[in-house]
């Protein structure tokens, strides 16, 4: 056999190109199976496609049911088991529990303040984003919004620890000129600051489409009628952007009210929110019943606010326009 002749199969040449390809055979087999599908069960196809997603979310629903069940049982601290009988004792206890009230008010006040600050700051950001003539500036501002979204809360809180900590960059810089060190962290304002910085991208993303929908001609019309720049913003742009402002406020409010990481990391245990209280009930005092009760109250609070958001933004929030 000639050394350069190659293998016999190669010499025989490839099979003729008219041969039926394997991938076609597989497709045909699949079509044959699909054709066997009874016409009566045509309607079942869409449910089969939807099924896996319904099942995934079903886990969440199951979890909430288990949580509601646990919240109605009292922890027996001799055995560390939840009792057999249902009672509302956990909720009654919440009602008269000072620490719960203090935490609830702290969370609610923070929600109010963070929402206000976020709206105030998100407005100019979203305005610049939607009105700038410079494509490069718009790109930079957009990337600036999405990058923190993907960096995650823990890493961002860690960044603030490095900047604001007792031996952090700010205190070291102040130390060079003979000032400080100041205690900048583990306080209520520190938690609020971290939350505003964390929620800002969400607020801008909810607000920007509303601002983009306002034609610039309207602003120019107001100006040509003699309205000053500030008056145009206050009397024309802000009222027209109301749906976006409401949506932004509700998103920021739900996320702030139920936040865990910022109070835990930047508050250092001194300024806990409700979610931290839930965590402590499970992992410090091992009271699954009471913890579930707080978690359920918080879930109801948060879901109500989010429900308002859906009502305001209209359904179709999944971006599905429906069958055509």
């Amino acid at each position: 056999m000639a050394i350069l002749g190659g293998r016999p199969a190669a010499r025989a040449g490839r099979p003729p190109t008219t041969a039926y390809r394997l991938s076609w055979r597989i497709l045909d087999a699949l079509e044959a199976v699909a054709a066997r599908w009874p016409a009566r069960a045509e309607g079942a196809v869409k449910w089969l496609l939807l099924g896996p997603a319904l099942a995934v979310v079903g886990l969440l629903v199951f979890g909430l049911v288990v949580m509601a069940d646990a919240s109605l049982r009292v922890m027996d601290f001799r055995t560390y088991q939840l009792g057999e009988d249902y009672s509302t004792a956990n909720y009654v206890r919440l009602f008269g529990w000072g620490a719960f009230h203090a935490t609830l008010w702290r969370s609610l006040l923070a929600t109010l303040l963070v929402t206000l600050f976020c709206l105030l700051l998100a407005f100019p950001y979203a305005y610049a984003l939607t009105r700038t003539a410079s494509a490069r500036l718009r790109r930079v501002l957009l990337v600036g919004l999405f990058l923190p979204f993907f960096v995650g809360q823990v890493v961002r809180a860690y960044g603030w620890l490095v900047i604001l900590g007792q031996q952090g960059l700010v205190n070291q810089a102040l130390g060079l000129v003979g000032l400080g060190p100041y205690r900048l962290l583990f306080s209520y304002p520190a938690v609020l600051f971290g939350l505003v910085q964390y929620m800002l991208p969400f607020a801008v993303l909810m607000l920007a489409p509303a601002l983009a929908a306002i034609p610039e001609e309207i602003e120019r019309a107001a100006a040509s009628c003699g309205a000053s720049r500030g008056r145009t913003l206050l009397r024309v742009v802000v009222p027209m952007a109301r749906p976006g402002l409401i949506a932004a406020a509700l998103v920021v409010a739900t996320l702030t009210l139920t936040d865990f990481a910022m109070p835990a990391i930047l508050g250092g245990g001194t300024n806990d929110f409700l979610a931290n209280l839930v965590h402590d009930q499970f992992f410090r005092t091992s009271n699954a019943g009471l913890g579930s009760a707080i978690a359920l109250v918080l879930t109801l609070l948060g879901t109500t606010v989010a429900g308002l958001l859906l009502a305001a933004a209209g359904v179709g929030a999944l971006g599905v326009r429906g069958a055509r």
Binding site: L27, A53, L59, P124, V155, R156, V162, P209, T258, F282
Partner: protein, 257 residues
């Protein structure tokens, strides 16, 4: 003026990421200002530190499980919702949005109790399932946008050329919505890599994920090796944003709905 405020805010948004990246490059053994000089030695330390490396591998497993579950379930659901009429369409949409309306602490505790009853706590893959549960609407969103942009005439054309339903689905519908699927998969993967609270509730000391590992370590002394790990996150995030921009274009988020 708005532009100036926006740029100042941009700096505020970027500050933690920039500082973390800067701190990771220090040659000294503490994070300080001004830095003691440049070096990559803390990145080497991360590769040697067993705890951090294992946590990173676990987080990758979580993100993989999450994406592997989210891609088929989210894609099929988005296609079904866009192409078929459902009698209870409104109820189905509200149900599928539950992961966004229920606060994370509620979903987390619920899944923790449920997985506890099923004996799944303390393993890594259930955390991936949980991440899929809480972020699934993102996947459906991303694919739905692509399906809505797809002209149904294309599918009808394929059918009239003799393609069966399976062939049409695999060779016309799926490739057309592929950018949406990729974008959704990317978002699910990165968010699962970052997921903190739900991880914290579901893991035990032997199965901590990377965000939980960072969280436990920053309560002690702040050392540059954590900054190195965190910088990996910043880089992953930057790559994700660039990819997302390529796939769907970030400007899509400015359009009014």
């Amino acid at each position: 003026m708005a532009g100036g405020v926006a740029l100042a805010l941009l700096l505020l948004l970027a500050a933690p990421s920039l500082v973390v990246a800067g701190a990771s490059l220090t040659a000294g053994s503490i994070v300080q200002f001004p830095p003691e000089g440049l070096s990559l030695r803390w990145y080497g330390r991360v590769l040697e530190a067993r705890e951090v490396r294992d946590a990173l591998l676990r987080s990758l497993e979580v993100a993989t499980v999450c994406t592997a579950l989210a891609v088929p379930s989210g894609t099929l659901a988005a296609i079904a919702l866009a192409r078929w009429r459902f009698r209870a369409a409104l109820a189905i949409q509200l149900y599928l949005l539950l992961p966004f309306t229920v606060p994370l602490i509620g979903s987390g505790i619920g899944l923790m109790l449920l997985f506890g009853e099923l004996g799944l706590l303390g393993r890594v893959w259930p955390v991936g399932i949980a991440c899929c549960v809480i972020n699934l609407p993102f996947m459906i969103w991303a694919v739905a946008a692509s399906v809505n942009a797809l002209d149904p005439e294309l599918e009808r054309a394929a059918a009239s050329c003799g393609a069966g339903p399976v062939q049409t689905f695999l060779l016309v519908t799926l490739p057309a919505v592929a950018p949406g699927i990729l974008a959704g998969a990317l978002v699910m993967f990165v968010l699962a890599l970052n997921e903190f609270l739900v991880s914290l509730l579901l893991v035990d000391a032997r199965t901590v994920t990377l965000p939980v590992q960072i969280y436990t370590q920053i309560r002690g002394v702040i050392t540059p090796d954590l900054a190195a790990v965190s910088t990996v996150y910043v880089l992953v995030a930057a790559a994700a944003v660039l990819l997302l921009d390529r796939l769907v274009g970030l400007e899509i988020f400015l359009r009014s709905r």
